[in-house]
């Protein structure tokens, strides 16, 4: 599938670097949520700012994906790739709303689940965009 590193000339808005940034931010945020739950703290404004930063990175990825779909070579699994892009921005808002709706201790872990889902979606989208028709 990915024998060589993508050549620089190649048109890759959904780059490995961008996906790595999104995944790292989401992992950090997820770890923060776990620590928060472990220390029995509640989700506060700082968490929301952190989530907003991760969401911003996800939106950049979404834009990159759309640019690639419009201008670049189509990924082989077109429908699946689009589905990943559509789902991605909703993961964190859904998890956040859910966490805030029930402010119990384990509820904070829902944020970690949402962040992990972002990591998986971003990484899978990256793989999908690597395989072109």
């Amino acid at each position: 599938m990915r024998e060589a590193f993508p050549v620089l000339v190649e048109f890759t808005p959904v780059s490995g670097a961008l996906v790595a940034v999104v995944c790292s931010l989401a992992l950090l945020m997820g770890a923060w949520a776990v620590v928060t739950a472990a220390r029995d703290r509640r989700v506060g404004r700082a968490h929301l700012v952190g989530l907003a930063v991760v969401e911003l990175a996800v939106l950049v990825l979404l834009v990159a994906g759309v640019v690639r779909l419009v201008a670049g070579p189509r990924p082989e699994e077109l429908a699946t790739s689009i589905a990943y892009l559509v789902v991605a921005p909703f993961l964190l808002p859904a998890g956040t709303l859910w966490t805030l709706a029930d402010r119990s201790r384990p509820s904070t872990l829902v944020l970690a689940v949402a962040c992990l889902a972002v990591v998986v979606v971003a990484y899978r989208a990256f793989l999908l965009f690597e395989v072109t028709a």
Partner: protein, 145 residues
């Protein structure tokens, strides 16, 4: 992870609280993933691997039932969750074994192929966690906490 966060003694809430909520979140992610994957597969190329894709759709349905069953409270939802988690565990074990034993029957993978290896084995762990949670909840209820 401690199990003392379950419930907060506010009578009987309509939605699951505490640790169960995390489980529901995980199930919700899998329900969405499995259903959308099956939808794409069936819409695009059902004839290529009808068995695998029909199985994907079935797995998606089971995840939806499990999500609802765990997310809502009440005996009916709980029974639905029991059934869904059990079916899921049997499904992932049977399909996992078959996909390894007879690869030709499954030309394209499903969520349950290789015991859910393509999904970090979460499909294998999830029903076990679900059943453990349901059992501990039933025990707590019987103890009349």
């Amino acid at each position: 992870m401690s199990g003392d966060g379950r419930g907060d003694g506010r009578g009987a809430p309509r939605r699951t609280t505490g640790l169960g909520r995390v489980l529901v979140a995980l199930y919700a992610v899998f329900a969405i993933a499995a259903v959308s994957r099956a939808a794409v597969q069936i819409a695009e190329r059902f004839s290529e691997a009808p068995l695998a894709y029909a199985l994907s759709a079935f797995a998606g349905l089971v995840y939806v039932v499990a999500t609802l069953g765990l997310g809502r409270t009440g005996p009916r939802w709980r029974r639905a969750a029991w059934v869904a988690c059990s079916v899921e565990l049997v499904g992932v074990l049977v399909v996992g074994t078959l996909s390894l034993a007879d690869a030709r029957a499954f030309p394209d993978s499903t969520v349950w192929s290789g015991y859910g290896a393509g999904y970090l084995f979460v499909p294998l762990v999830l029903p076990v966690l679900g059943l453990v949670y349901l059992r501990s909840e039933a025990r707590a209820a019987r103890a009349g906490r």
